[in-house]
């Protein structure tokens, strides 16, 4: 049979494809029905949080930070409650990471505050003297892409039926409403910050990247 296959590239290719596709069918597909249910009270990301998540995504924060607390006492002592599948339902993509050069961030919102992040992102060594994390000063001046975050929220609402605008849920509304809501949220965060560039920008109606990122990090609980 194998000699025959080796002389017939078409059937050979079909054979290889069936053999390699088999595992995916058996091992991956069954999970799709099961894993897509949110935990109780999980709300979709606000536009500002979504903008922060996109910064986290685009800057590849996952190269050093995981978002997955494994079921060991050493991990729950350090980071908090074990991660549950239903907590990740609105994460597209998932942001678990694969290497902890820095600590896990899945519940960082429980034990770090806006001003801690502000100091840390401007100069990590000022809060953790031995830190090897780079500073991200440019995020204090660059403007966050709120429109793209809105577009993403609208996309997941339309395509994946993510429950925006549901009773007691996250409100999305029109683009103008989305921008206004993001600015309101940003003002509340800016009030806890001391950086002058950031405060000035928010007063002008702009939202620096740092505010969006902090909004996202504060949500991780």
């Amino acid at each position: 049979m194998f000699h025959w296959l080796e002389k017939n590239p078409f059937f050979f290719s079909v054979g290889v494809f069936v053999v390699i596709a088999f595992a995916g069918l058996v091992e991956i597909l069954p999970n799709f029905a099961e894993a897509s249910r949110p935990v109780v009270n999980l709300k979709p990301y606000t536009v500002l949080e979504m903008a922060g998540k996109n910064i986290y995504k685009n800057e590849n924060c996952i190269t050093c930070h995981s978002q997955l607390i494994r079921p060991f006492k050493s991990e729950t002592d350090r980071y908090g409650q074990v991660s549950l599948s239903g907590e990740y339902v609105y994460d597209r993509p998932f942001l678990w990471g694969s290497r902890r050069i820095g600590p896990d961030l899945h519940r960082v919102g429980n034990y770090r505050t806006t001003d801690w992040h502000e100091n840390h992102m401007m100069d990590p060594k000022s809060v953790v003297p031995q830190s090897i994390m780079p500073a991200y000063p440019y995020m204090f001046t660059k403007t966050a892409d709120i429109d793209t975050a809105y577009a993403e929220a609208l996309t997941v609402k339309k395509v994946f039926a993510t429950p925006y605008d549901a009773p007691n849920g996250t409100k999305l509304g029109t683009l103008e409403e989305g921008r206004a809501a993001a600015l309101e949220e940003a003002k509340a965060i800016a009030a806890d910050m001391k950086n002058k560039d950031v405060k000035d920008a928010v007063a002008r109606g702009e939202i620096p990247q740092m505010i969006a990122l902090i909004a996202y990090l504060n949500r991780l609980k």
Binding site: P9, N31, E59, S83, S85
Partner: protein, 489 residues
């Protein structure tokens, strides 16, 4: 064998991909050394402003090495050896020549665009699939062109039976196509929202745990179908050619091929042990990783036994040295991976430096050495000149071997140290170390790792110099060498 003499093979496309293998190899590995150094000396994050941070550069390192160096290397060797094992020249078909050149240039432009997009901060954050959707479309086109090129050449072949190398190349084509397409399914938000925001942004069609499963089914098997399957294709051709020995066992190559094809794909979920993925999937990943030792070692043993009775060549021919050590590192790497997939070991190893350590003994030792050996074997045949210097190959071999050993030993120690420190508790059951303690403890190993990277990179520069000299100023050959590649002392 007689028909060989009559046939003039056309190496235009193989040469082009040889150049980019060297170019992207230097680029990707230089960035690799830089980011290794950044961990040991964080001030190095600020050399290029926002474009120089570890987080921006790390995907550039991985993707340039995978999609630049390695994919170029795969296609350089493919365009060289496919003509020979199919007994047909590309020059016989104008159409295939055109497709081949188009394949190269679209690839080259796409690869440059990909690097620039990562540098500018466009990323989907799915490892080894970071490119945003416009680049993905170019990659798919390039892949389709390779398919047309390969099946076209197979269509006009004279040798009816496909040689082992071609099995593996066909599998590479199918495997990567399937994995890449499914993992990168994403919806561009600009179009879905009716023209709002950035045109580059897209959202994955999978979410959370499902996305993780698809990603690591991809991530693990991208390693399979880029760093393993085509490398086996190469060694099954270059080792017998360079040594003049026939492959030890046809049956063993059959068993290894079909075994590898079936088993490899299951093992992806070993990246998700103790995650929120269902337990049975994690266990399947563990079990199949152990089973994977069989086909992996099957190939490696088959190749090592091919040298039976001719081990003296190891001392005489540095290309054989590279090939044999590549097989040996393949064995090391494919026993190490399954060990890390055992749940209790994974509990310590996951999220630590042991993982990049494991990756690098595979990619530097197995993939790197095989690619260098392949290109060195091809050079005298493509450029019709002898290899510029045997001494330089020897020097490269020893520098790089030292580098690899330093790399994986330091990463083993670093990984296990950090894994143990994370879980260490005092007599009252409290955690003994804060997270930053476990980072500070790794400094010496990160210095050694950087040094290891420098050793390897210097070897790459020596290789590049040797290749360029071979192309331009080495002694010309009157006729094509049969087995051992001719080289000046």
């Amino acid at each position: 064998m007689q028909s060989n003499a009559a046939l003039e093979y056309d190496y235009t496309v193989a040469k082009l991909f040889t150049y980019t293998t060297i170019l992207f190899g230097i680029l990707g590995m230089t960035v690799g050394v830089l980011i290794a150094a950044q961990l040991a000396f964080p001030e190095l994050n600020y050399l290029l402003g926002e474009y120089g941070t570890f987080s921006r550069l790390r995907p550039i390192h991985t993707d340039t090495v995978i999609f630049g160096f390695m994919i170029s290397g795969i296609w350089a060797t493919y365009y060289y050896l496919s003509q020979r094992v199919l007994k047909v020249s590309m020059a016989e078909s104008k159409f295939l020549m055109f497709i081949g050149k188009l394949h190269f240039w679209l690839y080259f432009v796409g690869a440059l665009a990909a690097v620039i997009s990562l540098l500018l901060g466009f990323s989907s954050s799915k490892e080894y699939a970071e490119f945003e959707w416009p680049i993905d479309i170019v990659i798919v086109l390039v892949w389709v062109l390779w398919g047309v090129s390969m099946f076209g050449l197979i269509g006009i072949r004279r040798e009816k039976s496909l040689y082992i190398s071609m099995w593996y190349f066909v599998a590479t084509f199918l495997g990567v196509a399937m994995l890449y397409l499914f993992n990168n399914m994403a919806i561009p938000t600009y179009f879905a929202s009716g023209g709002i925001g950035s045109i580059m942004n897209s959202v994955s069609v999978y979410s959370g745990t499902n996305d993780a499963l698809v990603q690591w089914w991809y991530g693990h098997n991208a390693v399979a179908f880029v760093f393993t399957v085509p490398i086996i294709a190469m060694i099954y051709y270059f080792l017998p050619k360079e040594s003049g020995q026939a492959i030890y066992s046809y049956k063993l190559s059959l068993l290894s091929f079909w075994g590898l094809m079936f088993v490899y794909l299951w093992a992806g979920s070993h990246h998700l042990i103790y995650s929120t993925v269902p337990d049975w999937m994690q266990t399947m990943g563990s079990i199949f990783s152990i089973i994977l030792i069989l086909p992996s070692w099957g190939s490696a043993i088959n190749l090592l036994l091919t040298m039976k009775g001719e081990w003296n060549q190891l001392t005489e021919n540095p290309i054989i040295k590279l090939l044999v050590l590549a097989s040996t590192f393949y064995m090391l790497s494919t026993i190490e991976g399954p060990i890390q997939s055992i749940k209790s070991v994974n509990a310590i190893a996951h999220f630590t430096d042991w993982i990049p350590g494991h990756v690098h003994d595979g990619v530097l030792g197995w993939v790197g050495f095989m690619t260098f050996a392949g290109l060195l074997h091809m050079a005298p045949r493509m450029f019709k000149r002898e290899i510029y210097s045997k001494k330089l190959i020897e020097l490269q071999f020893w520098l790089q071997t030292t580098g690899i050993v330093l790399y994986f030993t330091s990463m083993w120690i670093a990984g296990i140290t950090q894994g143990m420190m994370w879980r260490a508790v005092d007599e009252y059951g409290n955690l003994m170390y804060s997270f930053i303690d476990t980072v500070a403890a790794l400094h010496p190993y990160w210095v050694i790792r950087t040094l290891a990277g420098v050793f390897f990179l210097v070897g790459v520069f020596i290789f590049a110099y040797n290749m360029i000299k071979t192309m331009t100023s080495s002694k010309e050959l009157a006729q094509e060498p049969k087995n051992q590649s001719p080289m000046a002392a």
